[in-house]
């Protein structure tokens, strides 16, 4: 599904990713861990097409396409979703309108018919129920006045509605209490399927107690320095990242 081959990228003037390679197959869940400043968020932003992050070399192939040649909205339409570390507030635009606009923009790109209001309402009401979230979320302006936990839940809800093929969660667990963490993890687990893959960027092992990854990678100084199964996350939790330098 995704093949990142020896990618270099700058965030602003600074070189962050320095020859990163990673392959993700359909249905797999990959956790990316690593110390602060290693380039984890830059990787997520690069895949989603943030203009501030500029590729300098290497390639990213997503479902047979050159992902880096697509605009951010085109990437979304072909199934790439980034759950933001700091979701943006959009006053005056309610979640329902925002999501319907986004969904129909993606459908248009894919040559599908737009979803009418009634269909959309039925669909989101069912989704929000399935994900154990409160439906007042739909009427509120996007992320405005949301607590940190609500913003992260809203990201997962958006993911549920847009049904991406590759979901990148950038520190979705940060700032969450244990109950919110479980809701977010449940939401993600419900979306797991053989044709949907996840890249979960996190600092802490605790999220991985609830979302079991197939692979855990350590990203340090712009590249993946170690990969393993979920036990690697436990080792990192116990020993930190210092031992990787030895």
């Amino acid at each position: 599904m995704l093949k990142i081959d020896h990618v270099f990228a700058n965030a602003g003037e600074k070189e962050i990713l320095k020859g990163l390679s990673l392959e993700v197959k359909p249905g797999e869940v990959h956790a990316i861990m690593g110390p602060n400043g290693a380039g984890k968020s830059t990787l997520g932003n690069l895949l989603a097409g943030m203009p501030y992050v500029e590729p300098q070399g290497g390639s990213v192939e997503y479902m047979g396409q050159d992902l880096l040649s697509l605009e951010p909205e085109e990437r979304a339409a072909v199934g790439v979703f980034l759950a933001f570390q700091y979701p943006v507030e959009i006053p005056g635009v309610n979640n329902m309108y925002f999501l319907r606009t986004a969904l129909n923009a993606q459908r248009k790109y894919r040559g599908e018919e737009p979803m009418d209001s009634a269909q959309f309402l039925r669909m989101v009401k069912q989704k929000i129920k399935d994900m154990n979230m409160r439906d007042d979320l739909l009427k509120r302006p996007v992320n405005v006045g949301f607590s940190g936990g609500e913003k992260k839940r809203n990201e997962v809800f958006q993911m549920g509605v847009l049904e991406p093929k590759l979901a990148i969660l950038d520190e979705t667990d940060s700032g969450l209490d244990i109950d919110a963490l479980k809701i977010v993890a449940d939401g993600v687990n419900q979306l797991r399927s053989p044709d949907r893959s996840f890249i979960i960027i996190t600092h802490y092992q605790r999220l991985l107690d609830y979302i079991e990854p197939d692979f855990v990678h350590v990203l340090a100084d712009g590249k993946i320095v170690k990969s393993g199964d979920k036990n690697l996350a436990l080792e990192l939790e116990e020993q930190g990242y210092g031992w990787l330098n030895n």
Binding site: G49, P72, E73, F81, F84, V88, V93, L99, P141
Partner: protein
């Protein structure tokens, strides 16, 4: 400097004797007083605070090719209300339908001298003084208190499109009246003076909706004389135009009142918009809350200014000024100035102003959900405007 006073005085000479002689003697005296004052004033220049960032020369120039974009535009009727529509044109006020009991309409010539609100003009407001000098149409609209809220829609619809039309609307709202007044431009090159004389406990929702094509011009001076226990919301939509220049002048003349205003100013091409709010907290325990959201594109410019003056002894005044601005091109200009002049001790006041571009991170957030960049910009602009949408 640009010969405006000369032009106005020449226009006085050109006015037909008939049009003057039809006026009551007290009104002729008002015009004469305005003439004397005008002759003593200097030509307006950019040294005037309210014209610092506008091209006064545009007042002289007839708008080029009139674009009929605004003709037949849908009037924005406030939901759930059934407005009494008053059209103001060359002939004066024209009511559409029956005049309800709570409403009294008098043309300028039928007004009584004691009903006339004497607005004070000076060098700073010399362009608005021209209204008193060349006054052609308008009058008095008096509204009594009723059991239910009432709604008036005032529409400017002049046939002559390149000649200035000088209009004066005086709204007298009696104690306890609950009124929505929508002032809307349909056609004409307007210099308007609006007076809102608000008795105690009045609830006023006023909307000024001035949406112009790139050749049209509109100048307005808006007085709000606010008695005690009054609640005013004043929503302004100023969009486009070769020149839009609006001054809102609020006097708190009693205690326990609130004036809340929101302005959405949007300019394109070579438009110029000025939006100024001056609030005078002359008495204790009044609140003013001013929110402006301005967006300038292409080579257009916007000047927006909110000033509050708190007099000695006007304690427990509360003031908020929030001016935010977005530039959508490198050639667009926005000048934004919140001002507080406080002479009382116990006052809560906050003011702020920002000018910037659309937030790149927010645009990317929208794009990352599948929305293309143009639609993302539209959503962001809509979102930005919503913050000033107070009613």
């Amino acid at each position: 400097m640009v010969g405006l006073i000369t032009d106005w005085l020449e226009r006085v000479n050109k006015q037909t004797k008939d049009s003057i002689s039809n006026m009551p003697s007290w009104l002729q005296a008002k015009r004469q007083a305005a003439l004397v004052q005008m002759q003593m004033l200097n030509e307006p220049t950019r040294r005037l605070e309210s014209w610092r960032y506008a091209d006064l020369g545009r007042l002289l120039k007839a708008p080029s090719a009139f674009d009929s974009t605004n003709y037949g535009q849908q009037l924005n009727v406030i939901e759930g209300s059934d407005p009494v529509v008053i059209v103001v044109d060359e002939a004066g006020y024209m009511g559409m339908g029956d005049c309800p009991d709570w409403l009294e309409i008098r043309s300028l010539v039928d007004m009584h001298a004691e009903d006339w609100y004497d607005a004070t003009f000076d060098q700073e407001t010399v362009v608005n003084l021209a209204n008193s000098l060349l006054l052609q149409t308008g009058g008095l609209i008096r509204i009594k208190a009723t059991d239910k809220p009432v709604h008036i829609q005032l529409v400017y619809a002049f046939d002559e499109l390149d000649e200035w039309r000088y209009v004066r609307n005086q709204f007298d709202l009696e104690a306890g009246a609950n009124v929505s007044i929508t002032e809307q431009h349909q056609s004409g090159r307007i210099n308007a003076v609006n007076v809102y004389d608000l008795d105690s406990r009045v609830q006023l929702n006023r909307v000024q909706d001035i949406h112009l094509n790139s050749a049209e011009q509109f100048v307005s001076m808006n007085y709000f004389e606010v008695s005690k226990g009054v609640n005013v919301t004043n929503m302004n939509h100023h969009i486009g135009g070769s020149l839009q220049h609006h001054v809102h002048w609020v006097n708190f003349n009693g205690e326990g009142s609130k004036y809340k205003s929101g302005s959405i100013n949007k300019s394109f091409d070579n438009n110029q918009i000025t939006d100024i709010v001056n609030v005078n907290h002359n008495h204790k325990n009044n609140q003013s809350d001013i929110t402006h959201r301005s967006i300038a594109k292409d080579k257009s410019q916007i000047y927006n200014n909110a000033k509050a003056q708190v007099a000695i002894g006007a304690d427990q005044s509360e003031i908020e000024q929030d001016l935010k601005n977005i530039l959508l091109s490198s050639d667009a200009r926005i000048y934004s100035k919140p001002e507080l002049e406080v002479y009382a001790d116990e006052v809560i006041a906050a003011h702020g102003s920002t000018i910037g571009a659309l937030d790149d991170t927010a645009l990317f957030y929208l794009q990352s959900r599948g929305v293309d960049i143009e639609q993302a910009r539209e959503i962001m602009i809509k979102s930005f405007e919503q913050e000033a949408q107070i009613c």
